[in-house]
Subunit: 505 residues, 2 copies
């Protein structure tokens, strides 16, 4: 049959004509899968074409009319399913496009993607060695490499891959509480004094969210002020701890951030570690975004002090470019994850199995079923080696320096932080129409500039970059340079595109 | 070039030779991906071959020697990566094999798998309409269909797809607490009396785990006794609630189970709903496993009363066969998910965007980044339609009746529950050597039979089925018939295989 005839044939088939319902029909099964793969190939090719649009933006109500998303009464045939696949991709945002600077997690590493395809096909669950022997050992191997990079002693520390950094932070708060107040697990919070936690005002909101979930209360998660580049002020932390103690609260958890979401700041870890030691408080570092720098000998000093942490959150789906989701929570205290989360569900995690059940991870997780997030990361890491990551990260740091320098020298642009510590560059753009206004009026107008430019970008579909306000500062852009696809020319493009859009504002 | 030459060429390349690092080199990128896909095709074909082994079991220490899992200093070439892919699959457990009866989540639906491949390629994050317009609308559409099936009024209720049922249950406990005691979110548990929750002794351990995480305490999560088929005894529930109140505790949350993990029992929802109403307690139903039955008009009556629930957990990755992970938590109270989880992180979820931001889901999630679990389910559901699922589910129920009947009539087998309610069949097997022992001795020997048979099965690699003890009952097998690939002959095979292995015990 010709390719057209093959397509014609499978288009009229249904899922029931494929494996496993039609166990003999491998040929059509393969042809269907191959058609899906061809659609994905086209998408990848287009995503990597700088001339292609990042998105074809439509308002929600309009988008609903463009797409039929309904669940039908009768099965749809394979041709209709293939059409669905194409349509969905047509209206999706190309997060791997080299000019998508909108999120910390972006880019599409083809090796990691291939890894995720394999993960889907293997479709297993990370809770026991019994059903995930290879992936469980792989997780152990990768964890021990990451522990080494964190700087803990070999074989010290334990970790679990979690669905995102927010849940990793929740694991850390919960483990810290169990370490200091083990009675809470059986008896609840009524048996302990009023607990409190600390994090910088620039930290990720998940630290506060964990306080809500754990029954500590968001008002007992104190925001410590930051300095002019976004780093927690250690003296302010210690002052607040002392004040809380004086008021009868029990401080037990400090979260420092290595790589804040907006400014990319690194809190001064050694000083915070000292304070935690002095006050016998759990020292957590949220390195979800910044952790990847450990792979660069040139920049890992920014994380020095991390080795003193009691726990660390680190998301390989951020700087390291693994596909979403890939996050881990590391705990320096052996056995604590088990003690905290174990519910002794013998009906699931039998102790009389024919292998060493200490390899099973179910009892140390808050989840029961757990997605395999390790393979895509492991395969990608192998494809780069330590050396490849080092080069990739150092290159991104150079691109950041280049971009910062360029916008500083370009009329209309103003950086919020003179020398960004990391891959976030925060800046304002003043269109010609507001440049010569007096300060107050200019700032009032500035507040609306970034949303307007962003809306226009989305309409044009050429590039995307995020914005937000911060405290008294009007809306500003936050550029993220974490996609390995980015070139110097892409950065020039963004600068020119904003100028172009700003002309008419 | 011949296929061999193509392979030869790409084997010596590195990831840096592919997109996006080498933006022009689509041809090699495609060839590499295609090689991975060919490996996956071989795996799928083999997995669906009943003669193939489900696993090639090795002890952890031995497995470590068979596989090189290390992270190298230098990049590995594409040939080595392909070899890694093959090796990993070679030692993985084929959870989609038609004779893998070990877990509730198993099988490999090719359409759902193709969906997950697309999800990987689209690699986006479910927190805003801005970067996931199509998938956000799709989640809304699927949620409204599921809400309809649950039996809530149209447009009533809200839901979020979560990483597994345990986290979905955690969402429910947290939302219920916020509903009854909104002050806990800002002020913590010290502002409320001692709270307590209730669930049956046969329920999933994640209800207890949620009590631990939330600071309620596992001792304040009371296990209500079950009847002889594993259903919660409503009178015992009410008695316990009254007793708790008398003792000064504040009951606020009851979790009924629709489809228990071991026996597949359905708690009597209407009676439990009555009790919850009488005592003004939140009524949650953990239908992670049983929820799928709503798609069968013939069996959905088992869930009647579900429409009275305040919240429901339902995992499409169980009965409905979506790839892991695919779980959702439904909350009947509009806006409650937002109120509970919102942390007002304006720096991420701006309110001045150029579209209706009520479509953004970030503020109603406990997570920040959220994996796209909807597409693989949506595509699969379309491939089956309502009709296809109905047939698939009814067929599985027939297979269960067949299997139960057969083992009842086969010497050496004994069922624990005469007429299983669902797709779990629990049974003992007495090998000839112990059949004629006196009761006490027989039971002592029986305890070790299931683990021995299981170990032997794993060695032989022919089939897999789980076992566990329960209260005073010695270890028994728990058969799960949820993989659409299963045939009557596969069930016969299992019965014979156990007899075969049991001969020599």
């Amino acid at each position: 049959m010709s390719p057209e005839e093959v397509l014609k044939k499978i288009e009229n088939l249904h899922a029931t004509d494929l494996l496993p319902q039609s166990p003999e029909n491998w040929e059509d099964s393969r042809n269907f899968l191959q058609q899906v793969v061809e659609i994905l190939y086209d998408y990848i090719k287009e995503e990597n074409n700088r001339e292609s649009k990042i998105l074809d933006f439509h308002q929600p109500e309009e988008m609903k009319k463009l797409l039929d998303l309904s669940i039908p009464e009768k099965p749809m045939n394979l041709g209709e399913l293939l059409k669905s696949c194409s349509e969905v991709l047509r209206y999706s945002v190309k997060t791997g496009h080299p000019r998508f600077f909108n999120q910390i997690s972006c880019g599409l590493d083809l090796v990691s993607m291939a890894g995720e395809w394999l993960t889907a096909t293997a479709n297993t669950n990370m809770f026991t060695y019994e059903i995930s022997p290879v992936f469980i050992l792989m997780e152990k191997e990768v964890v021990s490499k990451m522990v080494e990079l964190i700087g803990w002693a070999p074989d010290q520390g334990d970790a679990i891959f979690t669905p995102g950094g927010a849940i990793a932070n929740l694991y850390a708060v919960n483990a810290a509480r169990h370490f200091h107040y083990p009675r809470v697990k059986p008896l609840g919070m009524s048996t302990v004094p009023t607990l409190c936690t600390f994090t910088s005002e620039d930290s990720h909101y998940s630290i506060k969210s964990a306080a809500a979930v754990c029954g500590i209360g968001t008002d007992h998660c104190f925001n410590i002020p930051t300095d002019n580049v976004g780093r927690m002020i250690p003296e302010a932390l210690e002052e607040k701890i002392v004040q809380c103690k004086r008021e009868g609260l029990h401080p037990f958890f400090v979260s420092a951030t290595a790589g804040t979401t907006v400014y990319g700041a690194f809190d001064p870890l050694p000083k915070i570690a000292d304070i935690c030691e002095r006050h016998k408080i759990w020292f957590h570092v949220d390195a979800a975004w910044g952790g990847g720098l450990l792979l660069s000998p040139e920049y890992r000093h920014k994380l020095s002090g991390l080795e003193r942490a009691n726990s660390v959150t680190w998301n390989p789906h951020k700087l390291l470019g693994a596909l979403l989701q890939c996050s881990a929570c590391f705990i320096r205290h052996d056995g604590l994850l088990f003690q905290t989360n174990q519910m002794s569900a013998d009906y699931l995690f039998q102790q009389d199995k024919p292998y060493d059940v200490s390899y099973d991870t179910g009892d140390k997780a808050m989840q029961c079923g757990r997605h395999n997030d390790i393979f895509k990361f492991w395969l990608m890491w192998r494809s780069k080696g330590m050396e490849g990551y080092r080069q990739q990260i150092n290159r991104l740091m150079h691109l950041t320096a280049y971009f910062t320098d360029r916008i500083k020298r370009t009329e209309g642009y103003e950086v919020l932080i003179e020398k960004p510590e990391y891959l976030n560059i925060c800046f304002w753009y003043y269109p010609p129409s507001i440049r010569h206004l007096e300060e107050k009026e200019k700032n009032a107008r500035l507040e609306k500039i970034a949303p307007k430019i962003k809306a226009k970008m989305m309409e044009r579909g050429t590039t995307m970059v995020g914005y937000q306000p911060d405290k008294q500062k009007p809306n500003f852009f936050r550029m993220i340079i974490s996609n390995q696809a980015i070139t110097y020319a892409d950065l020039d493009f963004l600068i020119d595109e904003i100028i172009e859009i700003g002309k008419d504002l």
